[in-house]
């Protein structure tokens, strides 16, 4: 995983998910797929290269 993974997670946890009905809720460590998608978004927006990863690959960065 990229060395920026920890900060990507921190950034992702500050984001909100909006569903098709307009309801908003904050990301948590338990909203697993949203967390991965936002971490990926962070990598993309900051030009960080990465290979295929999953939620399980993020677990070591939670502490």
């Amino acid at each position: 995983m990229p060395e920026e993974t920890k900060q990507a997670i921190v950034w992702a946890l500050q984001q909100k998910v909006v569903d098709p009905s307009g309801n908003e809720w904050p990301l948590t460590l338990e909203t697993e797929q949203e967390l991965v998608d936002f971490v990926r978004l962070y990598f993309n927006d900051n030009g960080i290269s990465y290979s295929t990863f999953s939620y399980d690959d993020l677990l070591p960065f939670f502490n």
Partner: protein
């Protein structure tokens, strides 16, 4: 001796008392239950039509025992937990334990990638991981899950992927493969299995 050859017990006024016939003592006896009530046994009828007394635990509760082979034969597992695919290389899951022990299987899939993802079943009958096909026409066992399915998990059953309804051996896994290079998103696959 049968009960109709014995004399029933009577009270002080020579009236027949509440009683039952005890085949062990071969005589009628007063029915004397707890707190003046009548002591009774509960009998239940078996599937074969035989009446048998119900058993109770020491505290008086009825003993219940589940028997048979269908108890607890239901399970679910996360096969892919938010996997962010970055190329079109197929990715196989870990081996699915006891896959062949269940005859009803359902996949719940959420694909948030910006491209469709193929989901199939692979098996090691030949020694390698081969995608399963069905029937003499070799209909490949895969389904294509649409892109951007953010809030719409898809339910895949044997109606869409016949191999889900059948029992076969060897090492069986689920395989996902992006149809083009994804740039955002991920895929989650859960497998529910039960015996029916």
């Amino acid at each position: 001796m049968p009960g109709n050859t014995k004399t029933i017990v009577r009270d002080a006024q020579n009236i027949a008392a509440p009683q039952y016939f005890n085949p062990t003592t071969d005589a009628y006896e007063y029915a004397q239950g707890e707190n003046g009530g009548v002591r009774m046994n509960n009998y239940v009828r078996t599937a074969g039509g035989v009446w048998v007394p119900q058993k109770a635990a020491d505290d008086g509760t009825t003993l219940v025992q589940l028997t048979g082979s269908k108890a607890q034969q239901k399970t679910d597992a996360v096969i892919f937990n938010a996997v962010a695919l970055t190329n079109v290389t197929p990715v196989n899951s870990d081996a699915i334990p006891d896959f062949h022990n269940y005859n009803k299987r359902t996949l719940l899939i959420r694909n948030t990638h910006d491209v469709p993802v193929e989901v199939g079943i692979v098996n090691t009958m030949r020694g390698n991981f081969d995608r399963l096909s069905y029937g003499q026409v070799n209909q490949e066992q895969k389904v294509t899950i649409g892109a951007n399915g953010g809030f719409s998990p898809v339910l895949i059953t044997g109606e869409h992927l016949r191999a889900l309804d059948h029992i076969f051996g060897y090492d069986t896994r689920i395989q996902v493969k992006a149809t083009a290079t994804p740039t955002v998103g991920s895929i989650t696959v859960r497998l529910f299995m039960e015996v029916r």
